[in-house]
């Protein structure tokens, strides 16, 4: 389905690729007892408070995300950045503040900018299975300090910086889909892909089930910063990590795609001197190879289609077509379904 066998047949398994899980924390022991043996890089991990132990965090959402990366990239090197640590009384979601995510991104910029050992791959994939659920969490649109619609917001600025440094950044589309939104969406289901989740320099990931049907809670576009979001869909709602009865939400779909990118980067690592290896080029390849779903071409539910590891495995070079250097794929929108 994801093309894992085809990727692994070409030695595309995440070896040497760093994958940062910006989330609630990873429990590496849980991964090991559930059949996953990735490398864990404690030195390059980061936590907002000293009492938090990256790699040995309580089993939860972040561990699910780490497991799902390892489906396609079982040999990747995981970095743990546990920034979402608060569970409100009576709530089921893990929360944090955007400022902690900003600090995590600063750390990842340092990781990318640090000189590597000779021969060490420099690829970094960053998984973000979180976001805002409702506009009330933010300053209003039009306020100069607004986050959801404002490229000048410091977090949106550092996302752009990390992309320019060479990281492949993915954000979940969210769980405010019209058919089955989370209660936290408070029935706001239109234009509900906020801030960095809709940034043109990231991949925004919608959710489909294993039959390639869009899950009803997957937030549809358009996005706020870039209209053409989500970019593509990943698989969710499957028995996987054992953290939950089923790995779910657009939270699971995103690391499934992140793992496919990490596997791909094993053969085509980031090289700052070669634009065909830059994140914008890889985003274009992911959308170009995606399996059609929904409307032919682009639509606001599936993006360009479902992630296609088989198609990525078949690429012999990165020169697979025009490269969308501005990163927003606007030039590729030939036929669009508007809501």
């Amino acid at each position: 389905m994801l093309g894992v066998a085809q990727l692994h047949d070409r030695d595309m398994d995440g070896t040497g690729v760093l994958v940062a899980i910006v989330d609630t924390g990873i429990n590496v022991a849980h991964l090991n007892t559930h059949g996953k043996q990735p490398v864990f890089d404690a030195a390059r991990s980061w936590a907002p408070r000293p009492e938090l132990a990256p790699g040995a965090m309580p089993v939860g959402h972040g561990t699910m995300c780490a497991y799902d990366v390892c489906i396609a990239a079982p040999r990747c090197t995981l970095l743990d950045l546990p920034v979402l640590q608060r569970r409100p009384p009576g709530g089921s979601l893990m929360e944090g503040l955007l400022s902690d995510a900003l600090l995590a991104y600063r750390h990842l910029l340092d990781v990318m900018q640090a000189s590597g050992r000779l021969g060490e791959a420099r690829s970094l994939v960053v998984n973000n299975s979180w976001g805002m659920y409702h506009p009330s969490w933010d300053f209003p649109v039009g306020h100069p300090g607004n986050y959801s619609d404002n490229f000048d917001h410091p977090f949106n600025r550092i996302v752009a910086s990390l992309d320019r440094a060479g990281a492949d950044i993915l954000f979940a589309a969210g769980n405010c889909g019209q058919d089955c939104p989370s209660d936290a969406c408070q029935d706001v289901t239109t234009r509900a892909i906020y801030g960095a989740n809709s940034h043109p320099q990231v991949l925004c990931v919608a959710g489909v089930d294993v039959a390639k049907g869009r899950v009803g809670y997957s937030t549809a576009g358009p996005g706020r910063l870039s209209r053409w979001k989500p970019d593509l869909a990943g698989y969710t709602h499957f028995r996987g990590s054992g953290v939950y009865p089923a790995d779910g939400g657009t939270s699971a779909a995103t690391p499934v795609v992140a793992g496919a990118i990490a596997a791909f980067r094993t053969r085509f690592p980031f090289d700052p001197s070669d634009p065909t290896t830059h994140p914008a080029a890889v985003r274009a390849l992911l959308t170009k190879t995606a399996e059609a779903a929904g409307t032919v071409g682009y639509d606001f539910e599936y993006g360009w289609g479902v992630v296609n590891g088989r198609g990525l495995a078949q690429l012999d070079s990165l020169r697979a077509g025009p490269i969308d250097m501005d990163g927003d794929d606007r030039s590729k929108v030939a036929a669009v379904s508007t809501p």
């Binding site: 989330d23 609630t24 959402h61 699910m64 979402l84 089921s92 979601l93 893990m94 929360e95 944090g96 503040l97 955007l98 400022s99 995510a101 900003l102 600090l103 600063r106 910029l109 299975s129 979180w130 976001g131 805002m132 659920y133 969490w137 933010d138 300053f139 306020h143 100069p144 300090g145 607004n146 986050y147 000048d152 917001h153 410091p154 977090f155 600025r157 550092i158 752009a160 910086s161 320019r164 979940a172 969210g174 769980n175 989370s182 209660d183 936290a184 809670y217 709602h237 939950y244 009865p245 089923a246 790995d247 779910g248 939400g249 657009t250 939270s251 699971a252 995103t254």
Partner: protein, 88 residues
């Protein structure tokens, strides 16, 4: 949201927390030392600090630095299965 983000753009090197406190007459409890001064855009020499919302008005441009803000510091939350919703 009791704390907000401000940005500072400087022509020289990164300002220190102490320099910022002195420049804008910020008290110890008005600026977040654990957040510090964070460079968010190396190409533009753009830095971010976090201050109490009531102190944001003090952080206005100077001869050396341009400032902007306050910027929101919203909650963020996971997009996973809700353990209570039966979402599986």
């Amino acid at each position: 949201m009791s704390k907000v983000m401000m940005t500072i753009t400087g022509s020289g090197g990164a300002p220190s927390l102490e320099e910022i406190k002195q420049q804008y007459n910020l008290g110890e409890d008005e600026i977040d030392p654990s957040f510090g001064v964070v460079e968010v855009d190396p190409e533009e020499r753009l830095y971010t600090i976090m201050v109490e919302q009531d102190a944001a008005a003090k952080v206005q441009g100077s001869n050396d630095w341009a400032t902007a803000g306050p910027y929101a510091n919203p909650r963020i939350a996971t997009f996973g299965p809700s353990e209570d919703s039966g979402d599986w």
